[in-house]
Amino acid sequence: MIIKVKNLVKRYGDLIALDHLSLSVNEGEVFGLLGPNGSGKTTAINCILSLLSYDKGEIEIFGQPMTPDAYNIKRDIGIVMQNVAVYNELTVYENIDYFCGLYVQDKKLRKKLVDEAIDFVGLGDFIKFYPKKLSGGLLRRLNIACGIAHKPKLIILDEPTVAVDPQSRNKILEGILELNRQGATVIYTSHYMEEIEQICSRIMIIDKGKAIATGTKDELKAMISMGEKITVETYSLSEEQLSRLRKLPNIASAVYKNQTLEIKSNKGQNNLETILDFIKREGIQFGKIYSEMPTLNDVFLEITGKELRD
């Protein structure tokens, strides 16, 4: 067990930012913390790191209680904070070297690590640049390099891709998977479900400081009653046909709007087949038909009654 958090409670005045949050992260996982803005992701991370004081709860990392002076624990953690934190007066190289140097004293080893980190985030052409001269995406990459250069066993990334263009974003995500393959356990927070789905092996969804569901993405999707979502483009659909459709087994809802029929099915087998049969039987002309599996957004929607993203 890399991280174990039990009944963590954190209040900001009257606001309960974390409400008896418990979680555990296993070695070798990419653990995703998914929640809308303000759900308490950053607060949870900062409590785990002993940066924030909390009202209640227990936190263990690598099997030991985490405190501000648990230096042997801290030595093996790498953090990429939500806010870019680099020295404006130090160049790209110097910044990475500085933060790496807080963990690694040996100069030779450090040089190797810094060079690797620079390669890793692809900042080779920019080592002499000052942070002010870097674009947003490059700056984020520098921020990441500063956090992971010392090759930590546990890497915590708090929304490292905010305000990053898709290309940089993909590079970052691939990089995180690479670090994981090299043996690091990763905690990744985001409010982008696509990112979380793409890289995380286990996911915890939180809302208002409470864990509402935990599991692999398939497990999460299995938790809800919704099966696939089937969309049919068609120009002709009568009210009667629509109501006959709704009576088919396993259909949760069917809405016809703007020449598009949207059907949500309950979990079950052969849902698509049943609908295709129905369309054929009724002789409905159609353009495209496609079927989607439920997303994490649907999971969130079903559990909380609201959309993950506004």
């Binding site: 940066l51 934190a85 020295y87 140097g101 807080l102």
Partner: protein, 378 residues
């Protein structure tokens, strides 16, 4: 670890042009500016004995008292006048050639002839007025009590001494020193910008950068101390440059106690940095508000210590002496001043004592705030 943090910190701070400007270039520029503005004042005020003449006629020769008074004022190294005793024509000629500031004709009342008005003329005039006032009081007293003559004569010479001191002190070139001393004090307290930055970069609830340092396996207070050492070194160096510049380029005199002058500058720098750290730690507001507080306090302190208007210092000392001890800028200014003026150390020591109390309060306050390593909110 010390070397790693210290060296990187030096790099950071030295490349922070804005701070370097305010802590080093600004005081140097002010010094140059002061020098330009004050050099006129300086020329006008350095007291040189005034060239005068007195018309050598019977009146003069018979007026023993006045003759003695005038001779007395024209003797010695710190004399008031360079006196020429000459004929009226020659005196007139000297005056026209601007060789003398004025000449005196002894008649009833004593007459001063000048061809322009100025500081020197005013001094001669006040000398004569003083003399005549004294004479008239002597006369009136002698009429009543002839026995008091001897006593009066000695009081007369005291009076001259007084005249000389008034004009002499006002004309001391050293008065200008106070401007420069308060400038050094200001440069010292401007170290607060370094102190502020040190706290900003170590308090995770102020900057994300600090959060990153806080989660690294380095003891927070150690990281802070290593880092603030770099600030202190840079600021001391800046103050040293300022002192060198003042001493060897602008020829500002610090007196002979060089070691103590350096000690004062050192403590001043420590005070400035700890002051900034304290304000930054205790004012839980945006950086701009902190800067406003720092500049406000520094400038008010410098003003009250007489940096813009020298008599301010004395006004405070007379009317609200407590204030002069509560103002670290004034303590520093006065410390330099006492080193220059006094042979004894009591006033200097008093200033330094108060300064140290400030340093202790600022440092302790900062320590109590930053020693906490978990934050209630980030």
């Amino acid at each position: 670890m010390f070397a790693h943090i210290f060296v990187n910190r030096l790099k950071c701070l030295l490349r922070d042009r804005e701070t370097i400007f305010w802590t080093m270039m600004f005081p140097l520029l002010l010094a140059v500016f002061f020098n330009l503005a004050l050099s006129n004042l300086n020329n006008g005020e350095i007291f040189k004995a005034i060239d005068i003449a007195v018309v050598d006629d019977n009146n003069y020769q018979y007026d023993q008292y006045f003759k003695v008074a005038l001779d007395e004022a024209s003797k010695g190294d710190d004399r008031l006048f360079n006196l020429t005793v000459t004929s009226k024509d020659n005196a007139e000629k000297l005056l026209n050639e601007n060789k003398i500031a004025g000449y005196i004709v002894v008649e009833e009342p004593i007459k001063l002839v000048v061809n322009k008005s100025g500081m020197n003329q005013a001094i001669i005039k006040s000398f004569i007025d003083n003399y005549m006032q004294t004479v008239s009081s002597i006369n009136s007293i002698l009429l009543k009590n002839p026995a008091a003559q001897q006593e009066l004569i000695s009081s007369l010479s005291e009076r001259q001494q007084y005249v000389k001191e008034v004009s002499g002190t006002n004309a001391e070139p050293n008065n200008i020193l106070n401007y420069f001393y308060s400038l050094i004090a200001m440069a010292c307290i401007y170290g607060c910008f370094f102190g502020m930055r040190e706290v900003t970069d170590i308090q995770a609830d102020i900057s994300p950068l600090a959060a990153r340092v806080n989660i690294s396996p380095v003891h927070k207070l150690k990281a802070f101390i290593y880092s603030i050492c770099a600030s202190l070194v840079i600021h001391l160096f800046e103050i040293f440059i300022l002192l060198m510049f003042l001493r060897f380029v602008l020829y500002v005199d610090f007196g002979p106690k060089t070691g103590y002058v350096l000690l004062t500058a050192f403590l001043g720098s420590v005070m400035g940095i700890s002051f900034g750290a304290f304000v930054s730690a205790i004012v839980k507001k945006s950086e701009n508000i902190k800067i406003a507080v720092l500049i406000g306090v520094s400038m008010t302190g410098s003003f009250l210590a007489g940096m813009m208007y020298q008599n301010m210092k004395y006004t405070i000392a007379q009317n609200a002496p407590v204030l002069s001890y509560l103002n670290p800028v004034n303590l520093l200014t006065d410390a330099f001043y006492s080193l220059y003026y006094y042979d004894t150390f009591s006033r200097y020591a008093l200033n330094m004592g108060f300064l140290c109390i400030f340093i202790v309060i600022f440092s302790l306050g900062t320590y109590l705030i930053i020693r906490r390593r978990k934050y209630a909110s980030l």
